[in-house]
Structure formats: C-alpha cells, structure tokens
Chain length 562, copies 2
C-alpha cells in the first residue's frame, strides 16, 4: 500500500510582535482523487463532512468490486427479513412503470432483466461495508410520483429504502434485503431563491455543492458544508440532520430549515414548504423529518435560510501542550474572534503523526506537540478579520496557551492546513481498516476517552509496530467547537479482540458522561442497537410511538434506526 503522494511543505517563518508565529507558504493543496463505486463517478465521502477516503490506483483492498462486498444479511445474521413485506412481482414493476413513465432513467429494473451491473452501485454504500439485495430502483421526478409510489407500496406492504447521494456512514442509505430503492437524484431542480431574504427552495435531490455554487454566484452560502458535498443531496442532508463544518457558525438544520415538503407512507404530501422565517401556527412537524433518516417519510423539497457569504476567510493552525490549553484557546477564540469564528477543530498529536505517516506530508509546524488546533474565521472585512486574528494569536502566544502556529496566506495554504484536519479520516483507514466512533462528550471530558482507549489497547497487547498487532494507533480529533469527537482506532485488519475491547466499553464511557454515541452520523443500521446508551427507555418508547403513528406497517427504511 504505497503512501499518498504529497510534497513536503516548506514554511516561511514570520515574527509577530512578541510571538513566534509563522505564516505558511508553498504548502501544497491536497485534493484527493475521486473514489469510485462501480459505474458511479462522484465524490464519495461522509455524510458528516469528513474527508472522503482516497486510494491510489493500485490499492487493491479499496478497489474491491461491489459484487465482492459481503452482504449485510451475512454480516448481520441476527437481522432477519420481515415476512410481512411482499416480495416484488412483475405486476408491481408494471404498476411502478405506470407511475414513472417509460423514460429509461426512471427505473433500474433487475426483476424483468439482469441489471446487476447497474443496480449494485445502489445496493452498496461507499465504505463497502453494507450491501443489500434490492432488485428495483425507482427514480421519481416529482413529489406526486413519490406520493403514488409510497401509496402503492404501503397498500401492498412493500418495504422501501429512500436514497439520496448514498454517502452515509451508518448503513442507512442502502437496503438490507429486497427493499425497493427510491432514489431522489432525478428531483434536482432549484425551485426558487429570494436574494433579499436569502431563502432557497430546492428539490430534495439537489447536490449540496450545486446549491452552494448557485448561492456563491449570488453572494450567499449554504449554511451546511461537508466533505461529501460533491455527491450528497440536500434531502439526504436534512433526513440525516447532517452537522458538518459550519455548524459552529450557522447552527443546525433544525434552525435553518424553514420548510419541508415530505411524503408520508400512505402517500399524504406534507406540504409545509413555507419560505417564512417565522410561522407560529401549530406544531412544527417538519422537525421530525430532520434526522428521521427516512423512517417516517421521504423529504422531497426543502426551504432553507442562507446567510451572506463571507469574503474574508482566514485559517490558523497551532500546536499546544495539553488538552487543557486547547480548552483555554477555544474560550479565548470565542471571546476574541466572536462573530467571525467559523471553525475550531482539535487534532491530537497522534492523529497528526498518523496523517503525516500515511500521506507522506510534512506537518506545518517544525516541532511536535501533543495537541493541535485549527481555527477558521469568516467575515466581511479582510483588514478587520486579520487584525482580530492577529490580536487573538498574540494573546494566546503571549499567555503561552499556544506554543507555535502558522497562518495561511492564500487559498492553497488554507486548503493545506485544512488537509491536516480532514486528512485524518483517510489516514486512519490507510493501514487496513478503522474502528470509527462519532461522539458528543461534554467539552471538559471530551479527550479523556482517547487517552483511556489508547491505554486499553496497550494494556491488552493489541497495539504496536509489529504486524502481529492489529491496532496501529488510537487517535482523537474533531469539532471541538461543537463538543464532537471522532475517535478512530486505526488497524491493520479487523479483529474480534479489538472489537471486544472497544464495545460496549466506548458506549458505556460515553453514557456515563451523558454524551451521544452518534453526534452527527445518525443511527442507520450500525448504531440501531446502541441507541439505549444515549436515550432513556422513555424517550425510545416515545420515538417508537411516532414511528408507529406515521408508518404503522413499518415499510419505511426497515431494520434500521429504532
């Protein structure tokens, strides 16, 4: 497995008053090559903004043909097909054809003919970890078609799997058995944009990056950003309540989504696609569909408030001696950068070494530190923002909160500093595999789990340099500004002993601190069994009540979520 090609960055040191702060130069941007599944050529990244894994051409383990991916039904033998669901017949296909019309793009029909080459890309997720047995993909082009499809499925007890860009991390976007895939990609129109209020209305199938590009031309920005932006769809973002890089600044989709259009299992169209910022007339039902992961209905349209795009963006990267100092730096950043702070990311020293080791990139700072932080500002005035950032940097250096750091001077350097953060996900998978945990933990205790997990692996003799050790390293990084930690256990191979050492230990650790076992990735199939670690029995009971209310036959994205 050859290392990824990178050019070692050379840094130009610039002295600020009383500080050792550097401005980085000639750092090379490190855009990853596109990672493809079957015929699908697109960015395949996480629903949760992490950089997508990349692979060199010759990396066989990552080029596993879809047909060689293990079926989910085999890796989860405890999950059995629900016998209430009807098996598809040619009559069903004919009924769907009547709804969708004869356009070849409207359906992938693996029942009437052998369409396995076309269909497998829809059956498998981008991690090549989950694979279903679907033989039919429907691609409606309108909300009315979605309504007719769901009504037919509900009437006939046919299970369905809603699918957007299929970039999720928890197996929520692909079927387990023979669920009909309802893929929203043909619903890709921007319906309207109001350039005074910033309200954008789109079909669910609009690609996030397309929407953001459309907005950029008009001086606006989509209030959500994530690594998968090139292929994830806004409907899927909403259905999974994607978090991502801009949450610290612009808040969650629960606040930004103004209105939704969604289709319930019985075909009812929930026409709540308001463009109003304020509308206090009744229960805010749309919120149930934000993060509902397609289990109570399919989002077909989204109305969202978009902020002005900031012309000035700065990124700084620095080294710190302890997690306590990371917290101090965050507190100071909030105070001094205040309204222009748009990201505060933390990466531990091991994560940066792993990134450097896997990618061959030299890290931006000359010395090594136990912790690193990346701070981004976005504002309307370049001079003001630079002044604020410099004042902040002088303060944190002067107070010895931060030990060393660099500031990007141009877009290329900015991308390179971000790569040190976003490249960790890729680096974690580089040595063969990775156990990934996406956790919310109160800020004070956020890093504790990484240190303990590392110690645990060492004590159990599972981690080391030798090929006999399954674990390469334990690293922690994430959105410190959102109390969201990514705990990655990079390994040479998947190993039952490692799994046993990790679970349920990780979940118990998080539960004790009242954290969340899934901060932004959702439940899907992967976390379904573990919801009890983050939710009480009462809450789970109330959630099941809602599921039963909207989807009494249980046809929507079955085997997942609750």
């Amino acid at each position: 497995m050859p290392p990824l090609h990178r050019t070692l960055p050379a840094l130009r040191r610039i002295r600020l008053a009383n500080t050792r702060f550097q401005t980085c130069s000639r750092l090379q941007t490190c855009r990853s090559p596109v990672y493809s599944i079957a015929q699908q050529s697109r960015w395949q990244a996480t629903a949760a903004h992490e950089a997508q894994p990349t692979a060199d051409e010759g990396d066989a383990s990552k080029d596993t043909p879809v047909k060689e991916i293990r079926y989910t039904s085999e890796s989860y033998p405890q999950v059995q097909r629900d016998s209430r669901f009807k098996e598809l017949s040619s009559d069903d296909v004919k009924a769907f054809r009547d709804i969708l019309g004869n356009a070849s793009s409207a359906m992938v029909d693996g029942l009437s003919e052998d369409a396995s080459d076309d269909i497998e890309g829809y059956n498998a997720d981008w991690m090549k970890k989950y694979r279903g047995h679907a033989r039919l993909v429907l691609k409606p082009s309108s909300t009315e078609q979605v309504s007719k499809i769901l009504k037919y499925c509900n009437d006939n007890s046919i299970a369905v799997n809603p699918q957007g860009g299929n970039t999720g991390l928890v197996g929520g976007s692909v079927p387990v058995f023979d669920e009909v895939i309802i893929n929203l990609s043909r619903m890709s129109q921007i319906r309207s944009f109001d350039d005074v209020s910033g309200t954008l209305v789109v079909d669910a199938g609009v690609i996030l990056e397309s929407a953001d590009s459309y907005l950029a031309e008009r001086g606006y920005i989509f209030p959500l950003d994530l690594g998968a932006k090139g292929s994830c769809q806004i409907g899927g973002n909403v259905a999974t309540n994607a978090g991502g890089l801009r949450l610290l600044r612009y808040g969650s989709l629960h606040g930004n989504v103004l209105g939704l259009e969604a289709v319930l299992p019985d075909g009812t169209i929930m026409d709540d696609l308001t463009m109003l910022r304020k509308n206090n007339t009744g229960y805010d039902l749309k919120q149930l569909f934000i993060g509902g992961e397609g289990t109570i209905g399919i989002v077909t349209g989204v109305s969202i408030i978009c902020p002005q795009r900031s012309p000035a963006v700065n990124v700084a990267y620095f080294g710190l001696e302890s997690y306590e100092k990371c917290q101090q730096a965050f507190r100071e950043a909030k105070k001094q950068l205040s309204e222009i702070l748009s990201a505060f990311e933390m990466m531990d020293g091991n994560s940066q070494l792993l990134y450097s080791r896997a990618s061959g990139a030299k890290l931006p700072l000359e010395s090594e530190y136990p912790f690193y932080c990346l701070v981004e500002t976005s504002g309307s005035n370049t001079d003001h923002d630079s002044e604020k950032l410099n004042t902040f940097l002088e303060h944190v250096m002067g107070e010895e909160i931060v030990s060393d750091g660099v500031v990007a001077e141009n877009e290329t350097q900015l991308q390179s500093l971000w790569a040190c953060r976003e490249g960790v996900s890729e680096a974690s998978q580089h040595f063969g595999g990775v156990y990934k945990y996406d956790l919310s933990i109160p800020l004070q205790e956020l890093y504790g789990i990484v240190a303990e997990c590392r110690q645990r692996m060492e004590e159990q003799g599972l981690m080391g340099e030798g090929e006999d050790k399954p674990v390469v390293d334990v690293v922690g990084y994430g959105h410190m500004g959102d109390s969201n930690l990514h705990l990655n256990v990079a390994c040479r191979r998947y190993d039952k002993a490692v799994e046993k050492a990790l679970e349920p230990w990780v979940y118990e650790w998080v539960k004790e601190r009242k954290g969340s076992i899934s901060a932004e990735h959702g439940l899907g199939l992967a976390k379904k069994e573990f919801i009890g670690y983050s939710r009480s029995e009462n809450m789970i009971k109330l959630m099941k009540q809602v599921k039963d209310l909207y989807d009494p036959k249980g046809i929507m994205n079955p085997y997942k979520y609750l």
Copy 2:
C-alpha cells in the same frame, strides 16, 4: 388621556464625507412605567417582544380592575365547556395538597375558601382581554410534582392550563372555564452553566431577564430578547416559540434549544435535557413542545446554547423615501454589516407620527419621511464595528437609498432610538384601542397590506380626525429582517364595522401571499379559528393526530390552538 412626558430631542448634526448623516445627542431615554394587574407588580409585556403598553396614573380605561374584565366565556359564547372534564371537588384539592405539601405558596385554593382576590390575577391576561373561571392554582416546585399533578388530572379528566409569566398576546396563558392553573413560577432555579460551551440549563420558571443577567456577568447573552423579559418565563418562551429582537442574529429557539425536560399528560417525564450541541440518535421530539403552547405537555426544564455577549453595540435610525428603498437598505446592510448586523427594523411614516403624537416625543430626524429604518450592530470590536457602520451609512446615503439619519452616541441615545420603534405598540393603543395583526409576509410584498388596509378604511369612511370616526390611523412596522410585519389599526373605540372591514380580509390577503397569520404570537384562543389561513387541511389533520397521540383526553390547555 395626557401625553406621556418626553423631552424634545435636539440633534447635533455631523457631516460625514458626502453625506448628511447626523449623530444624535441628548435624546432622552423613555423607559415606560410599570403597568400592573391587580396585586401583581411586574413588567407586563408581550410574549413577542413588543414594548409593553404603559399608562399614566390617571388612565382609567387601562386600570380596569380584573373583576370588571369580561369573561372569555361571554366574549366567546360559541366556546362551550367540555362536559368530559370533571368539576373539581374538595377530594381533588386534598390530593393536590398531598402532592404539593403544605407550603402556602404552593397553592391558591379558591374552592375551600374565598380566594378571589388572590386568584384573579392568574385568571386574566395582561391585555385584560381574556378572563377565566379557575378556582385553583397549583404551583409545583419540582418536575416530579408536575408529573404527579398531571397524572392525577389525566386519570380524573381534569382540564389544566399551564402558565408561565402570563405575558402572551393570544389568550393562551389563562383558562377559559374552570381549568386548573399549573403555574411554573416556583420552579425558578438556574440548574447549571458551562462557561466554555455556553450551555445554560434552567428550570422552566426562570424569568428571562434573570437568566440574561446571570449570563451577562459571565460574558454571555440569552439568544432571545423581548419586551416582556422582566416577567416572562423561559418555559413559556419555549412553549410559545417566542421570536423577538435577536432572531435575525441568533436564530430561532428550534435551533438554540439543545434539550428539554417536559411532562406529558399521563405523567411521563420526557427526559431529553441534553446539553449536547449534536445528538443524532432518533427523532427530535423536543421540537414538538417548542411552540406547542402547552397543549401536549408542560415544559419543566430547558437547556439552551448561549452566544458570547457583544461588547460593541451601535444603533442608527434613518428616513427613506419608499418601501423599495427599505428593501435596498436591508440588502446592503446584510452585505456590508453581515456578521455584526443584529436588528433591522422598519417603521412607516404614519407609525412614527402616531408615536410622536401619542408620546409627545419629537422624532430624531428634522424632516418627515414615508419610511424609517432602525439598524443595530453588535460585535466584539468597537472600532471595527463603527468603521463598518460608517462605510455602510456613507454608501446608502451616497446612493440615495437613505435620505437622512442619526447614529446613537451613547446608551441613552441608543435607548431613545429604540423607543421610536418599540413605542409604536403603545402609541397604537393610546387613543382607545387597537386591532393588532402579527404577520409573516414575503419581504417584497410585506408593506402592501398596510397601504391597502389604509385605503380600505378611508374608502369605507371609518378613518379620520373626527370623533365619529372609529379609526385614528393604520400603521405598519416590524422586524423587516425576519419578514415580520405588525399591522396596527389604532382606534378610538372597538367597532363592529371596523372588525368586519378587517376580518377575514387581512387573513385572506396573507393567505394569498403564502404568509403566516401569526408570525410569533402563536395561536392561543385568539387565532385558533384562523389556522386554516396559514396551514393546509393536511397539515391541520397531521397536527391533530399529534395532539390525539399525546393528549388523548384533551385535558391540556383546552379550547385553544387547534
């Protein structure tokens, strides 16, 4: 009815480059006297941030004793007591006493003794427009007590009326018949605050201003502000999804509330009081209680993310020649003030004349204009903010978008400029009465309804200077930044002909533009019948489904909402 005392402001004109911009000086602050109901001494203002009405000592019409306020059951004869609900007995009082203990502050018992003097303040709203027949007020001091009370009421079909600060505008916070009032004021503890993340956890009964003062001492701000802050409670703010003055900057409660603790009618405690910014583990049920107006449960605890407090605040007030120019100014403010813009309010010329006429205050600008706007910035750096604001002002003056304007130089002037906006509500009621509409309308058409309404009143001969004309003036103002218009028809007396000319015409006008008939005031009793103008039959049906799910016996805040 004497005019309110005010000192005429004298303005010091300051020339900016190429502009006629002024800095105001010696504007006098105009804090309104406290308006009291019965024995209750507190700020009595709207749940929706409007300045509370004030009255001179001698203003008899506003000093109507509570016992002279007409019962809601008389003003709404079509609303009949639901016979399913049990009438209270002494056994019920004893049961509640067992739950609450013997503290005299825990109960106002109008069944066992004559407590009418004590109880009437809880029966009537601050507008003195709604009055119920409750004979029992329960004041639990813990979530467990709320749970036991509701379980008892549900088991015995006893209707309840949850009550916070009782500052609402739509009759939602007082009973109609003999519902038991569950008042949250004794649950008033701040439970915790994390000064790194800014997460505040409070009992529902904490007064908004108390929470904000607590936060101010720690450099934080509550992300909601409204005129009633001195008496409204955070639980009530959440239950009514209060909007207010900071929504443009910090977004809605749907985005800021991180967790809720609420009690369902059957006594189930919904323990969703997470302090996590991100938690994607299941349906976000708490959202149903935000804006649920106490109809499916009682909010007992709130966890909310609070932003850093901005040390620099600026306010500018200017005159414009048309509504089109207001929109241009708003667009420029969003672009140039961007991250520091914290309010953009619009007041039409008539609203400012009415304010001046009612209050005796001289307006800040020497000439009269058909429109005025108030712009507020909040940021972390005084110099930067002033520079941004001046650049913006020079631009809008240079481009002749704005005709004239003033900028506050100190806190007193800042308050005085805000008074021109907040004083309109009071001024509208000054001449005897007011028909108030709180509307969301797409920005382009926002002002159209005011012009048409004015014309309508004139054409029907209802408006004029003579005492025989019921209508004094029609004015429009509001949160332009949120597309939220307050349409006020100031009148000398309430008159059936005026009412007939206004309704359902206003609601139809709003419906045609896909607006909302209640942007931030909620439904309560006042708007219950009109929800169909802003929501489709499908949506109302789905909402009723949720109501039936959580409150099958209908005991929660009956006769209101849906």
